[in-house]
């Protein structure tokens, strides 16, 4: 198995707060990797760094062996790394289908688009529809995305990130706030996509979800990755329990 994404020695501070402290991580191609850790351990910050939403001065991010540190988000997206957000970012006043079509913009020059009517988007629409069907929300194609339930929005966000056919997807709390039946559906879709060759890195608090779909887990604590291993190994690891529950001394100092 080759390493698809390699993160090495990332440091990121906000004022006095060290959010990421020599953080290193490897995502193997073809796996579903999980990233867990207590609140404030730096998971979302790491995602932001990896996808270009935050800049760093120390450390590197490599994709397929090539450095992508500090690349802008759209460049990262074009290279084949898709990313979803904790609070879903969809375009609420556009319809579900239109949300999908936005993700195909990067293939087109801006001037020509003035004269291209939305109607002339045959092939893109077909592909978008396929993806919506795959996620199970094709019935909502003409609804303004703002009308979708929270769980449906998560499915939409995943769908439109898939439009660009990325090699790897970074999912930030995909199951958060979603009702159980949709969670199962989501987990199943992720596994199917993984079977088709896509790599995943998933941040989650929902342990059942994570234990169920991940091949490997990385645990973060205070800005660094402390343990990596299979779900079984990680579950029993003393350092992990320490991180989540906190040692007796630490509690007193809080």
């Amino acid at each position: 198995m080759t390493a698809l994404i390699e993160v090495e020695g990332i440091c990121k501070a906000y004022g006095g707060l060290q959010a990421l402290n020599l953080c290193s991580l490897t995502v193997e191609s073809g796996t579903v990797a999980g990233l867990i850790g207590p609140n404030g351990s730096g998971k979302t910050t790491l995602f932001n760094v990896m996808t270009g939403y935050e800049q760093v001065r120390q450390g590197s991010v490599r994709f397929k062996g090539n450095p992508i540190t500090n690349f802008t988000p759209d460049r990262v997206f074009k290279l084949g790394i898709g990313r979803t957000f904790q609070l879903t970012r969809i375009f609420p006043r556009l319809t579900t289908m239109e949300n999908m079509l936005i993700a195909t913009q990067h293939r087109e020059g801006w001037l020509g688009s003035v004269f291209r009517t939305a109607a002339s988007l045959g092939p893109e629409r077909e592909r978008a529809m396929e993806l919506l069907e795959f996620m199970g929300i094709d019935g909502l194609a003409t609804q303004p995305a703002g009308n979708l339930s929270y769980g449906q929005r998560k499915l939409l966000e995943l769908a439109y990130v898939l439009v660009a056919d990325p090699d790897v997807l970074l999912l930030d709390e995909p199951a958060g706030g979603v009702n159980p039946s949709l969670i199962n559906h989501l987990a199943e879709r992720i596994q199917e996509l993984n079977r088709q060759g896509k790599t995943f890195l998933v941040v989650e608090h929902n342990m059942e979800f994570v234990m169920g779909i991940c091949d490997s887990l990385t645990v973060m604590h205070q800005g660094a990755a402390i343990v990596t291993g299979s779900p079984a190994e990680v579950r029993a690891h003393p350092m992990v329990l320490d991180a989540y529950l906190g040692g007796a001394d630490e509690d007193r100092n809080d």
């Binding site: 993700a103 688009s113 703002g146």
Partner: protein, 348 residues
């Protein structure tokens, strides 16, 4: 779908017919004068909405382009000693183009800022234009410029202006509609909803905004030229009037910001009112107050404007009638929905 599908084109055809016949039915010059101004404002509001409504950035300085168009017309007409007549209408596209060219640097500066700073800097730039026009020699300073007036008979003097303005309106609406349903329009609307996310997905946000900004300036420059020719004189305080921007913003909000037909409706309803208020003796002094109150009322009570509220209402009635199937999207102007979660806006 066929019966519903015919309503809209049918209404449009009817409206065009009515507009075309208007000056012959109501030939009193007072009415046609009000009509010319109304058409001018309808065009300006539609053009402004083409940028503001679709992108969510609210410029309050577009009067700068109106004045640019007006002055361009006046200056060229004066300096080239062109005779007054139908031919002079040919200058209008030129004035529009000049306004567009001027909008380019303005947009480049203004669009670098965030949304609320953008509003303010457009106001500041507008005042810059007003100051320059008041002080510069070529623009006649504070006494303005005279424009040659054609020797047409008084009874039908307004008619050519009416039809030119109508033509410009049709062009503006066609442009607005085309943009709305194009890929370009989709990008603008995405920018309106979540600019950072759109940029992250590869939308060329800067270029798209600038293009829309420049395009919106062109019709405004053109109606500025029509105004100059119609009124016969150009004063800096009238063609660079902050109330112009307040008016078109109000009209767009009133009718429905971001829709194709809303701005038309807003201008159609409010401009005759504005004309009546300014001309009417008894309420002349109250004009500003009434305007301000209407504006407050619209923003606070009807923030979406008429068109989206009405289509929302129709949509809800239809969904009550069609219980099983999901509500049909409001005809073409699917911006009716409000009440969605505000998106977080990180500082990127």
């Amino acid at each position: 779908m066929s019966r519903r599908g015919l309503i809209k084109p049918g209404l449009i055809a009817l409206a065009l017919l009515a507009l075309g016949l208007f000056p012959f039915v109501f030939s009193n010059p007072t009415y046609t004068t009000i009509a010319v101004f109304t058409l001018i404002y309808m065009t300006a509001t539609t053009a402004w909405n083409g940028f503001a409504g679709y992108s969510g950035y609210i410029p309050l300085g577009h009067a700068a382009f109106f004045g640019t168009g007006a002055y361009t017309f006046a200056v060229i007409a004066q300096h080239d000693h062109l005779g007054a007549g139908y031919g002079l209408f040919g200058l209008i596209p030129v004035c529009g183009l000049v306004a567009g060219l001027v909008a380019l640097p303005v947009g480049l500066v203004a669009l670098r800022t965030r949304r609320h700073t953008f509003v303010v800097i457009t106001i500041a730039i507008f005042f810059l234009f007003q100051l320059v026009a008041t002080n510069l020699g070529i623009t006649g300073g504070s006494s303005g410029l005279q424009v040659v007036s054609p020797n047409w008979p008084g009874a039908t003097f307004n008619d050519p202006f009416y039809f030119v303005a109508l033509g410009l309106l049709i062009l503006a609406v066609a442009a607005s509609w085309t943009i709305r349903w194009s890929r370009f329009g989709l990008q603008l609307l995405a920018i309106r909803d979540d600019e950072a996310r759109a940029r992250g997905l590869g939308v060329r946000v800067g270029r798209v905004k600038l293009t829309a900004f420049v395009i919106s300036a062109i019709p405004i420059g053109m109606v500025g030229a029509v105004y100059a020719y119609f009124v016969g004189q150009v004063f800096p305080q009238f063609v660079f009037d902050p109330l112009f921007d307040v008016s078109i913003a109000l009209m767009a909000f009133f009718g429905g910001l971001g829709t194709v037909w809303g701005p038309l409706l807003g201008a159609l309803l409010l401009e005759p009112l504005q004309q009546y208020l300014t001309l009417s003796y008894s309420v002349g002094d109250l004009y500003l107050i009434i305007y301000g109150v209407i504006f407050l009322g619209v923003i606070l009570l009807l923030p979406l404007g008429i068109v989206p509220s009405v289509s929302d209402w129709i949509g809800r009635r239809r969904s009550r009638q069609e219980r099983a199937s999901p509500p049909a999207p409001a005809g073409g102007d699917g911006d009716a929905r409000a009440g969605f979660l505000p998106h977080p806006e990180p500082d990127t």
